[in-house]
Symmetry: C2
Subunit: 127 residues, 2 copies
Protein backbone atom coordinates (compact mmCIF):
# COMPACT_ATOMS: atom_id res chain seq x y z
CA UNK A 1 0.00 0.00 0.00
CA UNK A 2 2.94 2.32 -0.40
CA UNK A 3 5.23 3.48 -3.16
CA UNK A 4 8.45 1.64 -2.49
CA UNK A 5 8.09 0.26 1.03
CA UNK A 6 8.88 2.89 3.63
CA UNK A 7 8.44 5.93 1.44
CA UNK A 8 11.97 5.69 0.19
CA UNK A 9 11.79 7.39 -3.13
CA UNK A 10 15.14 7.45 -4.81
CA UNK A 11 13.81 7.05 -8.34
CA UNK A 12 16.83 5.00 -9.33
CA UNK A 13 16.00 2.42 -6.68
CA UNK A 14 12.26 2.57 -7.17
CA UNK A 15 10.91 1.47 -10.57
CA UNK A 16 7.29 2.46 -10.03
CA UNK A 17 8.40 5.86 -8.82
CA UNK A 18 10.36 6.37 -12.04
CA UNK A 19 7.38 5.43 -14.18
CA UNK A 20 5.17 7.79 -12.21
CA UNK A 21 7.60 10.59 -12.97
CA UNK A 22 7.57 9.71 -16.65
CA UNK A 23 3.80 10.08 -16.97
CA UNK A 24 3.51 13.13 -14.73
CA UNK A 25 6.54 14.92 -16.11
CA UNK A 26 6.17 18.34 -17.63
CA UNK A 27 6.03 17.09 -21.22
CA UNK A 28 4.85 13.56 -20.54
CA UNK A 29 1.45 14.77 -19.36
CA UNK A 30 0.96 16.79 -22.51
CA UNK A 31 2.07 14.10 -24.92
CA UNK A 32 -0.25 11.58 -23.31
CA UNK A 33 -3.16 14.03 -23.23
CA UNK A 34 -2.65 15.00 -26.83
CA UNK A 35 -2.42 11.45 -28.12
CA UNK A 36 -5.44 10.51 -26.06
CA UNK A 37 -7.81 12.54 -28.17
CA UNK A 38 -5.92 12.68 -31.43
CA UNK A 39 -5.35 8.95 -31.81
CA UNK A 40 -2.20 9.25 -33.97
CA UNK A 41 0.21 12.11 -34.61
CA UNK A 42 3.46 12.73 -36.41
CA UNK A 43 6.58 14.04 -34.71
CA UNK A 44 6.20 17.45 -36.30
CA UNK A 45 2.53 17.68 -35.38
CA UNK A 46 3.32 17.00 -31.75
CA UNK A 47 6.13 19.52 -31.88
CA UNK A 48 3.96 22.25 -33.30
CA UNK A 49 0.97 21.55 -31.06
CA UNK A 50 2.91 21.48 -27.82
CA UNK A 51 4.06 25.05 -27.84
CA UNK A 52 7.42 25.57 -26.23
CA UNK A 53 8.79 22.04 -26.40
CA UNK A 54 12.19 21.57 -27.98
CA UNK A 55 12.93 18.80 -30.46
CA UNK A 56 15.29 17.29 -27.95
CA UNK A 57 12.75 17.10 -25.17
CA UNK A 58 10.02 15.77 -27.45
CA UNK A 59 12.28 13.02 -28.75
CA UNK A 60 13.40 12.19 -25.24
CA UNK A 61 9.86 12.14 -23.86
CA UNK A 62 8.59 9.97 -26.69
CA UNK A 63 11.45 7.51 -26.25
CA UNK A 64 10.82 7.21 -22.55
CA UNK A 65 7.11 6.64 -23.04
CA UNK A 66 7.78 4.18 -25.84
CA UNK A 67 10.23 2.28 -23.66
CA UNK A 68 7.63 2.05 -20.90
CA UNK A 69 5.19 0.62 -23.42
CA UNK A 70 2.79 3.58 -23.36
CA UNK A 71 3.48 4.90 -26.85
CA UNK A 72 3.70 3.03 -30.13
CA UNK A 73 6.14 4.29 -32.74
CA UNK A 74 5.41 3.50 -36.38
CA UNK A 75 8.26 4.48 -38.70
CA UNK A 76 7.42 4.34 -42.41
CA UNK A 77 10.30 3.71 -44.81
CA UNK A 78 9.60 6.60 -47.11
CA UNK A 79 11.31 9.79 -48.16
CA UNK A 80 10.82 12.21 -46.60
CA UNK A 81 10.64 10.19 -43.38
CA UNK A 82 7.29 9.75 -41.69
CA UNK A 83 6.84 8.53 -38.13
CA UNK A 84 3.47 8.17 -36.45
CA UNK A 85 2.99 8.04 -32.71
CA UNK A 86 -0.04 6.60 -30.96
CA UNK A 87 -0.99 5.22 -27.57
CA UNK A 88 -0.89 1.55 -26.75
CA UNK A 89 -3.70 0.05 -24.67
CA UNK A 90 -1.51 0.42 -21.61
CA UNK A 91 -0.75 3.98 -22.59
CA UNK A 92 -4.41 4.79 -23.00
CA UNK A 93 -5.01 3.62 -19.44
CA UNK A 94 -2.11 5.69 -18.15
CA UNK A 95 -3.24 8.74 -20.07
CA UNK A 96 -6.77 8.39 -18.76
CA UNK A 97 -5.55 8.34 -15.17
CA UNK A 98 -3.22 11.28 -15.62
CA UNK A 99 -5.88 13.18 -17.46
CA UNK A 100 -8.38 12.58 -14.72
CA UNK A 101 -5.97 14.01 -12.19
CA UNK A 102 -5.27 17.02 -14.39
CA UNK A 103 -8.99 17.66 -14.77
CA UNK A 104 -9.57 17.43 -11.03
CA UNK A 105 -6.88 20.04 -10.48
CA UNK A 106 -8.53 22.30 -13.02
CA UNK A 107 -11.97 21.88 -11.46
CA UNK A 108 -10.63 22.72 -8.03
CA UNK A 109 -8.39 25.52 -9.19
CA UNK A 110 -10.71 28.28 -7.92
CA UNK A 111 -10.50 26.84 -4.40
CA UNK A 112 -6.75 26.56 -4.63
CA UNK A 113 -6.30 30.12 -5.83
CA UNK A 114 -8.49 31.40 -3.06
CA UNK A 115 -6.34 29.56 -0.55
CA UNK A 116 -3.18 30.95 -2.10
CA UNK A 117 -4.46 34.49 -1.92
CA UNK A 118 -5.41 34.15 1.74
CA UNK A 119 -2.02 32.60 2.48
CA UNK A 120 -0.17 35.42 0.73
CA UNK A 121 -2.33 38.07 2.37
CA UNK A 122 -1.76 36.62 5.83
CA UNK A 123 1.97 36.49 5.32
CA UNK A 124 2.06 40.03 3.96
CA UNK A 125 0.10 41.26 6.99
CA UNK A 126 2.57 39.63 9.36
CA UNK A 127 5.42 41.85 8.17
Amino acid sequence: MDVCQPYNVNAAECPSRAVLEHVTSRWGVLVLALLLDEESLRFGELRRTISGISEKMLAQTLQTLERDGFVHRAAHAVIPPRVDYSLTDLGREAAAHVWQLARWVERRLPDVREGQERYDRDRAAAR
Copy 2:
Protein backbone atom coordinates in the same frame (compact mmCIF):
# COMPACT_ATOMS: atom_id res chain seq x y z
CA MET B 1 -10.99 19.99 -21.89
CA ASP B 2 -7.30 20.76 -21.99
CA VAL B 3 -4.63 21.94 -19.62
CA CYS B 4 -4.11 25.57 -20.54
CA GLN B 5 -5.78 26.03 -23.91
CA PRO B 6 -3.61 24.75 -26.72
CA TYR B 7 -1.26 22.64 -24.67
CA ASN B 8 0.86 25.61 -23.78
CA VAL B 9 2.47 24.55 -20.60
CA ASN B 10 4.76 27.18 -19.27
CA ALA B 11 4.02 26.60 -15.60
CA ALA B 12 4.43 30.29 -14.85
CA GLU B 13 1.63 31.13 -17.26
CA CYS B 14 -0.53 28.18 -16.34
CA PRO B 15 -1.87 27.99 -12.78
CA SER B 16 -3.41 24.54 -12.98
CA ARG B 17 -0.23 23.22 -14.46
CA ALA B 18 1.74 24.56 -11.51
CA VAL B 19 -0.61 22.94 -9.02
CA LEU B 20 -0.38 19.65 -10.87
CA GLU B 21 3.37 19.81 -10.51
CA HIS B 22 3.07 20.51 -6.81
CA VAL B 23 1.03 17.38 -6.11
CA THR B 24 2.98 15.12 -8.46
CA SER B 25 6.39 16.41 -7.51
CA ARG B 26 9.00 14.07 -6.15
CA TRP B 27 8.31 14.89 -2.51
CA GLY B 28 4.75 16.17 -2.86
CA VAL B 29 3.46 12.70 -3.75
CA LEU B 30 5.06 11.22 -0.66
CA VAL B 31 3.95 13.88 1.77
CA LEU B 32 0.37 13.59 0.55
CA ALA B 33 0.44 9.83 0.65
CA LEU B 34 1.91 9.77 4.11
CA LEU B 35 -0.54 12.27 5.57
CA LEU B 36 -3.39 10.42 3.88
CA ASP B 37 -3.08 7.43 6.14
CA GLU B 38 -1.43 8.95 9.17
CA GLU B 39 -3.92 11.78 9.68
CA SER B 40 -1.48 14.11 11.46
CA LEU B 41 2.31 14.18 11.68
CA ARG B 42 5.02 16.37 13.09
CA PHE B 43 7.80 17.85 10.98
CA GLY B 44 10.37 15.48 12.38
CA GLU B 45 8.17 12.46 11.88
CA LEU B 46 7.73 13.33 8.22
CA ARG B 47 11.44 13.95 7.91
CA ARG B 48 12.36 10.60 9.39
CA THR B 49 9.69 8.62 7.55
CA ILE B 50 10.49 10.01 4.12
CA SER B 51 13.98 8.67 3.84
CA GLY B 52 16.30 10.84 1.84
CA ILE B 53 14.45 14.12 2.04
CA SER B 54 16.38 17.15 3.26
CA GLU B 55 14.94 19.59 5.76
CA LYS B 56 14.94 22.26 3.13
CA MET B 57 12.92 20.27 0.64
CA LEU B 58 10.47 19.09 3.27
CA ALA B 59 9.89 22.65 4.48
CA GLN B 60 9.55 23.87 0.92
CA THR B 61 7.16 21.09 -0.04
CA LEU B 62 5.01 21.63 3.03
CA GLN B 63 4.84 25.37 2.42
CA THR B 64 3.80 24.90 -1.17
CA LEU B 65 1.10 22.41 -0.24
CA GLU B 66 -0.07 24.63 2.59
CA ARG B 67 -0.26 27.61 0.28
CA ASP B 68 -2.35 25.61 -2.18
CA GLY B 69 -4.69 24.75 0.65
CA PHE B 70 -3.90 21.03 0.70
CA VAL B 71 -2.08 20.90 4.02
CA HIS B 72 -2.99 22.40 7.36
CA ARG B 73 -0.20 23.60 9.62
CA ALA B 74 -0.85 23.73 13.37
CA ALA B 75 1.95 25.42 15.29
CA HIS B 76 1.76 25.02 19.04
CA ALA B 77 3.36 27.76 21.12
CA VAL B 78 5.40 25.49 23.31
CA ILE B 79 9.03 24.85 23.98
CA PRO B 80 10.42 22.86 22.34
CA PRO B 81 8.38 23.88 19.28
CA ARG B 82 5.77 21.47 18.02
CA VAL B 83 4.14 21.72 14.61
CA ASP B 84 1.56 19.27 13.35
CA TYR B 85 0.70 18.81 9.71
CA SER B 86 -2.50 17.31 8.39
CA LEU B 87 -4.54 17.27 5.21
CA THR B 88 -7.41 19.63 4.58
CA ASP B 89 -10.54 18.31 2.89
CA LEU B 90 -9.23 19.61 -0.41
CA GLY B 91 -5.89 18.00 0.30
CA ARG B 92 -7.51 14.67 1.05
CA GLU B 93 -9.18 14.77 -2.36
CA ALA B 94 -5.91 15.65 -4.06
CA ALA B 95 -4.05 12.95 -2.18
CA ALA B 96 -6.67 10.37 -3.09
CA HIS B 97 -6.33 11.16 -6.79
CA VAL B 98 -2.56 11.13 -6.75
CA TRP B 99 -2.55 7.97 -4.74
CA GLN B 100 -4.90 6.27 -7.16
CA LEU B 101 -2.54 7.10 -10.01
CA ALA B 102 0.44 5.85 -8.04
CA ARG B 103 -1.33 2.58 -7.31
CA TRP B 104 -2.27 2.10 -10.94
CA VAL B 105 1.37 2.50 -11.89
CA GLU B 106 2.36 -0.07 -9.31
CA ARG B 107 -0.29 -2.54 -10.47
CA ARG B 108 0.85 -2.24 -14.07
CA LEU B 109 4.53 -2.22 -13.28
CA PRO B 110 5.09 -5.80 -14.43
CA ASP B 111 3.72 -4.94 -17.88
CA VAL B 112 5.88 -1.84 -18.04
CA ARG B 113 9.03 -3.67 -17.06
CA GLU B 114 8.36 -6.35 -19.65
CA GLY B 115 8.01 -3.64 -22.28
CA GLN B 116 11.22 -1.98 -21.15
CA GLU B 117 13.15 -5.22 -21.37
CA ARG B 118 11.90 -5.92 -24.88
CA TYR B 119 12.73 -2.36 -25.91
CA ASP B 120 16.26 -2.62 -24.53
CA ARG B 121 16.78 -6.05 -26.05
CA ASP B 122 15.64 -4.87 -29.48
CA ARG B 123 17.90 -1.86 -29.37
CA ALA B 124 20.87 -3.94 -28.24
CA ALA B 125 20.28 -6.38 -31.09
CA ALA B 126 20.29 -3.55 -33.61
CA ARG B 127 23.92 -2.67 -32.87
